[in-house]
Symmetry: C2
Subunit: 217 residues, 2 copies
DNA sequence: TTCCGCGGACGACAAAAGTCACAGACCGGC
DNA sequence: GCCGGTCTGTGACTTTTGTCGTCCGCGGAA
């Protein structure tokens, strides 16, 4: 479904949007904007971004990942300033969209408004699921889920499932701390589910790992 | 801001919506629908509803409260089946909205589409804030926040702040269990912040309680 | 080469949350 | 009154998470 948002817009508009914006490259690990920043609408052309929220104590929780052809900053178009931060996990190419153009179009063209509403409701759905996972799942379950999620976007040479991520990043992702993640990974390793190396977690047993995941109902 | 959604729609449409639907009364404690149910669009005419998610083990977490002139089931109009449950906390009057009429209008009338998008983004915002609170806050902080939230919607005879809620409901609300909530309430009581009785929590010191709350940044 | 800094592995301990078990207060119905 | 239901209060214990401190290995900068 990624990319369906722009795809759902009338060609004429996407044409104008793509003509009006600018490309820019960002190395891995750069912070696009933080909580409270003036919002921007951005299309992901290449790479992988992380949308997160952070606590005053420095802990973080990722809200979602943005992949190729995702659009960032949609909710913000409609509402106020950003309440999330965005950072690149991999080298990424972004395309800045003219926010004024998009909102103006949404206000006058029902197809655009509807596309916006669809995209927002998808995110709301996803967010609610995440809420349940965070509320009911253990760190262990969240780590398992996150590894699978990450690995599914980073295919390696052979069909291996690999999540290229440090323990610290993983901890930030699931709203915990490094030491706890380390413990969980040790357990997974001992159970033969994963193999770990610096900045990488090889998933040896995807279904076994999936069993560690939290599922609703 | 509650009610701004319908208020944002063109009169002509709200007229048609109100002509097409039906009213119904529900006593406190009834369940409107559960996770997975066929979705419905519903306007709250009177009362207080709770939108929640539940875990297989029976724990719950409330996603939001719906008050007078809120509309339920918007996200669901656009996406798939409901992934939340809805229950009445007080006797409520609901007005069933013709979902087909609303979606059809959204697809053709840009004002409606935009109103939908605005409402959805508001909810997304609120949901994200909630995500942070759940992820970073302690049960203690969540209970404090919830009490204040509830009390703000239930004004009592004199200016007293009262939350009419049982410990079990409170626990479900914040994604914890009764015993833990009881402990927290005891601490609040001993600190002179609240007074408790069956099904009621009197808030004696709102600002003191607010200090127990989690705040971003 | 040496010295950091980063990522990682652990162990010990503290704090927060959840579980279990049980008891008392209150209320409506029989 | 007596009974069952609901709501509450609380102690004791376990599990999960978070914190602190230490140590190791590696790779780049000086």
């Amino acid at each position: 479904m990624a990319g369906s948002f722009l795809g759902g817009l009338p060609e004429e508009l996407t044409g104008r949007l793509l003509a009006s914006g600018r490309r820019a490259d960002y190395p891995a690990g750069s912070t696009l904007y933080r909580e409270g920043a003036a919002p921007q609408a951005v299309l992901v052309v290449r790479g992988l971004l992380r949308v997160y929220m952070s606590s005053p104590e420095g802990r973080q929780v990722t809200v979602r990942y943005a992949r190729v052809s995702d659009v960032l900053g949609i909710a913000v178009l409609v509402g106020g300033p950003a309440n999330v931060g965005v950072q690149t996990l991999a080298g990424s190419t972004l395309f800045r969209i003219d926010a004024g153009l998009l909102t103006a179009a949404a206000r006058t063209d029902s197809r655009v408004g509807w596309a916006l509403a669809e995209e927002l409701s998808r995110r709301l759905y996803e967010n609610l699921r995440q809420t349940a996972v965070n509320a009911f799942g253990t760190v262990r379950q969240r780590v398992a889920a996150h590894l699978l999620d990450l690995a599914s976007t980073q295919q390696s040479p052979r069909g291996e499932l690999v999540a290229q991520v440090s323990q610290q990043e993983l901890a930030d992702a699931v709203g915990s701390v490094r030491e706890v993640v380390a413990r969980v990974l040790r357990e997974f390793r001992q159970a033969g589910l994963v193999a770990t190396a610096a900045d990488t977690v090889h998933i040896l047993d995807p279904t076994g790992l999936h069993d560690q995941t939290w599922n609703p109902e």
